[in-house]
Amino acid sequence: MTTFLAIIVLILVAIAVWQMTKIFELSQVNADNSQVANDKDNKLNGYLMFAFLVFLYILMIFSMWKWGSFLLGTPASAHGEDYDNLMAISFVLIFIVQFITQALLHYFAFKYRGEEGKKAMFLAHNNKLEVIWSIIPALTLAGLILYGLYNWVSITSIDEDEDPIVIELYAQQFNWKARYAGADNVLGDANVRLIDIAKANVLGIDESDPYAQDDKITTELHLPVGKKVLFKMRSQDVLHSAYMPHFRAQMNCVPGMITQFAFTPTVTTEEMRVDDGIVEKVNTINEIRAEKRAKGMDADPYEFDYLLLCNKICGQSHYNMQMRIVVETEEEYNAWLSEQKTFAASMGKEDTKTETTEAVAQVELVSDEEAKIIGVN
């Protein structure tokens, strides 16, 4: 269907091109062959400049109407609201400047289109004007910078007194893992040099570190609502970036270095699923997916979930390196966390369920390796 549409559009464009050539040619009857614009060219292109302005306005308004709803919707983190405010203010400013300057540019191009014998105004400079239009942007930008930096500082400064929950995000080609710090809320030491595939120590955690014993490794990221979370990012191989768009959060994962980002989730997954904007979005998506299914493509009905995406080119399956994020109440979170196995348990230091854990870890490992070789499709 889309292919067909595309072909139709191309044909229409071809016809339009052909017609336009004719128009340009017709405007050339008994013109000289100097290939320098004459009054007819000036007039025609002057009018086209005006038409282009109309096109730009329509494009801008249409885009906002049609694509405005693609925006990510209600922010799901505490700083997300400030982020969205700053974004909104910047956008309003940008759109005002855009509407005005494009209008001036194209309108002048139309209004002052050349005519034989017309005299242009000789105007070499005007210091007052130039000072004005240096100062106005300077002041506006100063305001934006201050507001922006205020937010930046509050997002990036991590207050240890708040006692954030510490979680490690661990990236490797091409999947994510999360490591919870456990009851002591301190992550055990780790380095990729300590990775021991045979023992299923896939994150390279220092087995002898007492802080490491209660750490828990998971493949899904669960967060309690309303509690500050401090993420420590690590990468095993190449650069990756932990991008959590709904939370307005992103930080690169850099081999050889621990990076960090903190935020407070404010909306649980359940709450977000009934958010008006999201409901509408999900409905649209499900209509599209139903159409796909009708065509025999495999597209299950979609239910909203927060996502962590990789946002730094990292190789073949970069495009499919994701992890589900679940924001839930503290009770749900605690219940979920208590079901996860500790590092010590998976290393066989506690004799409970050792075998099964190891088996699970092995299976996981194999699938990681496979993913690396064949790419996740």
Binding site: L72, Y112, F122, A138, I145, Q250, V254, G375
Partner: protein
């Protein structure tokens, strides 16, 4: 060098190993255009994949061979195409293709010199550019495929052959090609700088230089300051790759084993890369702005508004461009305090940019606009420069960058502000100086068609992309269908691709016009656009040494268009322009005070 030299020229010294700046300029232009065809062609291929993911196309099978089994594009080649597309467009088309062409053509002609300071180095610069182009293109044909780590080639992805197929021989060729490219660029730039400083004709003071020359001159300075840093980054990366050093690598486990690297940091590479990378944006953009200044003034029949402010803003942009690189690294893991500093410097650079935009608009105001194709492309440049520049305010703000960094919002932004704007500047320059280069005129009607289709399609491609980015779609993704969240955008992806294909085909109109007019174009007159600058005082027929007699002396700036005497008559009665070679008349004030 004096007069026009009377030594014999063979085919080889005239057309191939020429040391004449005009011929070298044409060589740069044609090589740049061919690279442009490859680069834009690639973008159409990967755009098709994005619009119709996983679909089989005959053309993929034909062009990509084993990389498109049964006509379905492979994920690795997608990344490779994006990488080579970016590299070719930025460096080969819009750096050497643009600067190489117009610096070579215009610097000697507009400052009144017989040739470049060193014709030999100039020739060498072209041939190294040619060699690096060949190497870059040949990397497309090797077994494991070309470099695929993005045009920024961040290590460790680019450093480890185990990380992706393109990081083997493909990356080596990329690095070798770029090292030669940088040498070429440096030789060119040094030559331009020396020529502008030393070889200006009598009366051509720095404040009488056309803005094209100012822009090309400062561009060369920026190049000399920043390209060596990229060269050192490339050399260090080569050492890490081949000699086991650890400049950019540490603590890596890949392919089932721990690598020995210890103590290096990819963040260091990012700093080095963007120390060039950001100035590179201006290396690409400033020549286009210079060209446009000249063309808008000439075709508005008005002086460029605020000549000195334009020079100051070029200088301001040049200086600031070297201290803003960190805005590419807000979420790289560098200290957030640095992020604050770079936000500040980045938003500062918006001020000279805004001055430029306003000055263009004021130049057009109350003009007598001659709508030649060059003028249309110049107006188009101002339009895309504004649209693209404005979103820079968002990306330059460290806070806002958090959520749009590396999304399609960035792709939209940089294509408009640097890709499309510079491309328009390049087209404007070609339409304007074609008569000077080839002694013939380009067909204007084809020029109009080319412009209007491109103008509509370019916005059609890149405007919607902003919204795709705001929806959280990352760039450098081969396929979005694993994210139901992005299903909504599929239509938009198709719209973008259709416009891209239209834009691509519109360039064929240009190519046809370009090559046909070389032989069948209307013969050019000496000064077709009624321009003031010196290049139009040379004969249409090219001479070695440019002017048959003495080099003309300059008596005024380049922008005395529509200047009146006290009695309301033009300075030269009946003619609305006063070439730079015309002395001030009695009682006339120098306009450029």
């Amino acid at each position: 060098m004096s007069g026009h030299a009377h030594h014999k020229e063979t085919f080889i010294t005239k057309y191939i190993f020429s040391q004449d700046h005009k011929m070298i300029s044409k060589q740069f232009l044609i090589t740049g255009l061919l690279m442009g065809v490859i680069g834009i062609g690639m973008s159409l291929l990967f755009r098709m994949q994005l619009a119709w993911p996983g679909e089989s196309f005959k053309i993929f099978e034909v062009l990509l061979g084993k990389w498109a089994p049964e006509g379905v594009m492979d994920a690795n080649i997608y990344l490779a195409l994006v990488t080579i597309h970016g590299t070719i467009m930025v460096f080969f088309v819009l750096t050497q293709g643009l600067s190489g062409t117009f610096s070579n053509l215009l610097i000697p002609l507009q400052i009144g010199a017989r040739d470049m300071a060193s014709g030999f180095m100039n020739m060498l610069s072209y041939w190294m550019f040619f060699l690096s182009s060949i190497i870059m293109v040949s990397s497309l044909f090797i077994e494991a495929g070309p470099a695929a780590a993005g045009w920024t080639i961040y290590p460790p992805l680019s450093a480890l052959a185990a990380a992706q197929p393109g990081s083997g021989l493909g990356m080596t060729l990329w690095l070798v090609s770029m090292a030669i490219f940088i040498a070429s660029s440096l030789m060119g730039s040094l030559n331009y700088i020396v020529t502008v400083i030393n070889l200006r004709t009598k009366g051509m003071t720095m404040t009488r230089l056309p803005l094209t020359i100012w822009a090309l001159f400062i561009t060369a300075v920026i190049g000399v300051v920043s390209f060596p840093v990229l060269l050192s980054a490339a050399l260090l990366l080569i050492m890490d790759r081949s000699f086991g050093t650890s400049f950019f690598l540490s603590d890596i486990f890949i392919g089932g084993e721990v690598l020995h690297y210890q103590g290096g940091s990819p963040v260091l590479y990012e700093h080095l890369f963007w120390f060039l990378g950001h100035p590179e944006v201006y290396i690409v953009l400033l020549p286009a702005l210079g060209i446009t200044s000249e063309i808008i003034a000439t075709n508005s029949r008005k002086p460029i508004f605020g000549y000195r402010a334009m020079i100051l803003s070029i200088l301001g942009i040049a200086f600031l461009s070297t201290i803003v690189w960190g805005h590419h690294m807000f979420v790289s893991g560098m200290n957030p305090f640095l992020g604050s500093v770079f936000t500040f410097t980045t938003l500062l650079i918006a001020i000279p940019s805004a001055v430029k935009a306003f000055n263009y608009i004021t130049t057009i105001w109350k003009g007598n606009l001659q709508m030649n194709p060059a003028m249309l492309f110049s107006i188009g440049l101002v339009s895309t420069f504004i649209t693209g520049g404005l979103t820079g305010i968002i990306l330059g703000d460290s806070t806002l960058d958090i959520n749009v960094h590396d999304t399609y919002f960035v792709v939209a932004h940089f294509h408009l502000v640097m890709g499309i704007s510079s491309l328009y500047g390049m087209f404007a320059g070609i339409y304007h100086w074609y008569p000077k280069m080839f002694g013939r005129m380009l067909n204007k009607n084809l020029g109009y068609l080319h412009f209007w289709i491109t103008a509509v399609a370019a916005y059609g491609v890149f405007f919607p992309m902003h919204f795709v980015g705001l929806a959280g779609v990352p760039r450098r993704y081969y396929d979005y269908t694993n994210f139901p969240l992005f299903d909504e955008l599929q239509d938009t992806q198709v719209v973008i691709t259709v416009f891209a294909i239209i834009a691509g085909f519109a360039q064929l109109i240009f190519l046809y016009n370009f090559f046909r007019s070389m032989f069948y174009g209307a013969p050019a007159t000496q000064n077709p656009w009624k321009s003031n600058t010196l290049e139009w005082t040379t004969p249409v027929e090219h001479l070695h040494g440019n002017w048959p007699g003495a080099i003309p002396e300059v008596h005024r700036w380049a922008y005395d268009y529509s200047k009146l005497r006290e009695d309301g008559e033009y300075i030269i009665p009946g003619q609305d322009f006063v070439p730079q070679t015309v002395p001030l008349i009695d009682g006339e004030e120098d306009s450029n005070h």
